[in-house]
């Protein structure tokens, strides 16, 4: 059985469905990248996987070896945290709470765990610094260390590189790759960055307006119109026409590939 599997999953806010017909599976060791435009429902799906939002239809099921509260999570940054007086160590340690049951204080095991993860993310020398005095990239690494404390198996990252400068971004991607490869932790990451996604991920889930445009391996994804409409408008049209000729109704990408392709291209260039 898969680590996480979603069947015909849908989410709604106040009766308005924002996502429907999601079908995908995540296996142990996968690196899944969730792509989609702003408001496509990526964060909503993350919350659904974490059990913070109830699906309006369908099911999320976990394999025997995984419980819902054993997932590490790196949320999209909230403004509240920006000026929070807390040391890096305090923040990272708070990730260990999930495994403590009703025990009120941290034991040596939790402290060691926090130290190990701080070491892995190269923030040990920041451990007594104040969270609010750190740079954006450092703050993200602290939150990543906290997420690692909460899990041994799966980590969910919601736009981990948003607002970081290019060099720091590359560094962050490398760290995430190491978490996936060396620690063997399954990674599910939300991103806007198509290039990085196809470079690092093993699987892609592409969300469109309110439905799933693509799910499969990264390799297969490179041959779809959805991918090329992001990367290269003309090629997308070509693939589109071929697909339309074969099966009348293509299963991927948006109604006006040409227009959309142009638009995306401009965005990428910017």
């Amino acid at each position: 059985m898969s680590l996480i599997s979603c069947e015909d999953l849908a989410f709604a806010y106040d009766g308005v469905t924002v996502l429907r017909h999601l079908d995908f599976k995540v296996e142990q060791g996968d690196y899944l990248c969730i792509l989609g435009e702003n408001g496509a429902g990526k964060s909503t799906l993350m919350k659904g996987l974490l059990g913070l939002k109830k699906p309006s239809a369908g099911t999320v099921s976990f394999g025997e070896e995984l419980r819902a509260k054993e997932i590490g999570y790196l949320p999209q940054q909230t403004p509240v945290q920006k000026d929070f007086p807390a040391s890096v160590r305090e923040v990272v340690l708070s990730g260990c709470l999930s495994g403590m049951g009703m025990r009120p204080f941290y034991a040596k095991a939790e402290k060691d765990r926090a130290d190990r993860n701080m070491q892995a993310l190269e923030i040990t020398d920041l451990k007594d610094r104040c969270y609010r005095d750190l740079s954006g990239g450092q703050q993200q690494r602290v939150l990543l260390a906290r997420a690692l404390c909460a899990t041994k198996k799966v980590i969910l990252l919601d736009e981990p590189v948003a607002g970081l400068d290019p060099l720091v971004t590359i560094n962050m991607y490398r760290l995430i790759e190491r978490i996936n490869k060396e620690m063997g932790i399954t990674v599910i990451m939300v991103s806007h960055d198509m290039q990085a996604a196809t470079k690092y991920a093993s699987h892609i889930l592409h969300l469109g307006e309110d439905r799933q445009l693509f799910f499969g391996t990264c390799e297969d994804y490179r041959h779809t119109a959805a991918y090329h409409s992001f990367m290269d408008g003309e090629k997308a049209v070509h693939i589109w026409k071929k697909a339309a000729g074969k099966e009348k109704k293509p299963r991927a990408a948006s109604p006006e590939p040409e227009e959309k392709g142009e638009k995306e291209k401009k965005e990428v260039q910017q």
């Binding site: 974490l50 913070l52 949320p75 509240v80 007086p85 807390a86 040391s87 708070s94």
Partner: protein
């Protein structure tokens, strides 16, 4: 002057005021840290105004003041928390509506019944003479609950304050913690109101937290520093009010302002020092 201060504590009501005051100061400072960091400090202010409305109505009906005020303020705490959590209906505006609305109702009830007498004045601005034995017992109980909670749930309170979504994702019942904190705030505000007055009690919640955040860089030190600063300000304020026959609540708030200015100056000084070191 030292003799005068010693003499001050030979009066039983002064000792009682000091004990109660310290308990209220410590508890409201601890609660204040989480409220301020979660952007809930307006809840404290709203609750104290609701408290005044409830006390005014209790006086008009000749009922026991606390028996009316406690349930009303707790109910208001639930309501305000809901409103603040739900950003759609402009949480802060809603809190302001309820807070000024309750004050207006209180003032109206007072003017239609007893008029502006000493009791009402004390509800607004506080008095250390108006505290009864029952108040002492209540303050002791509420403070004990708050202190025990902050010791045993300290790590969880940190997690919920720092990042509620993450806390919920790792299995903490964040809603429950929020509710418990709001209810305890309601209780400490009602008991603290007797001494500080409903117009000034929320300063005891907000000031120490904001003050210690100037210089402290860990959550634990903010907590401890708030409690200590709050206690020192309360004792100093009490002594000043005794020596100069000044209103107690106002003296305590002025001490808090002085503490805030001191801490802010230290912070500024440090920043200047750091930037001049960098430029060297």
């Amino acid at each position: 002057m030292f003799g005068l201060i010693l003499e001050m504590f030979t009066y039983p009501f002064m000792v009682r005021a000091l004990c109660m005051g310290v308990l209220v100061a410590v508890c409201s400072a601890l609660l204040g840290v989480t409220l301020v960091l979660k952007r809930y400090s307006m809840i404290g202010d709203g609750l104290s105004h609701v408290g005044f409305g409830a006390l005014a109505i209790a006086t008009a009906m000749n009922a026991a003041p606390l028996a009316v005020a406690i349930p009303v303020v707790i109910a208001a705490a639930f309501l305000l928390l809901r409103l603040t959590e739900n950003s759609k209906i402009k949480g802060d505006a809603a809190v302001a509506l309820i807070s000024t609305g309750a004050l207006a109702i209180g003032v109206m009830v007072v003017s239609m019944t007893t008029g502006m007498n000493t009791d009402v004045y004390n509800y607004l601005f506080g008095s250390i003479l108006s505290m009864s034995h029952g108040d002492v017992v209540l303050t002791g109980t509420v403070s004990a609950v708050i202190l025990v909670m902050f010791v045993f749930f300290y790590n969880r309170i940190f997690a919920v304050t720092f990042d509620e979504t993450f806390a919920r994702a790792t299995g903490l019942n964040a809603k429950l913690y929020n509710t418990v904190i709001a209810v305890l705030t309601a209780l400490i505000i009602v008991v603290g109101m007797r001494m500080m007055g409903s117009l000034l009690i929320s300063s005891l919640v907000v000031f120490p937290a904001v003050t210690s955040m100037r210089t402290c860089i860990t959550f634990r030190s903010v907590m401890i520093c708030s409690a200590v600063v709050s206690t020192i300000c309360l004792v100093t304020g009490l002594v000043i009010s005794y020596l100069y026959a000044a209103p107690t609540g106002a003296s305590i708030v002025l001490c808090n302002i002085a503490a805030f200015i001191t801490f802010a100056a230290v912070q500024k000084g440090r920043e200047c020092l750091q930037s001049s070191e960098k430029s060297l």
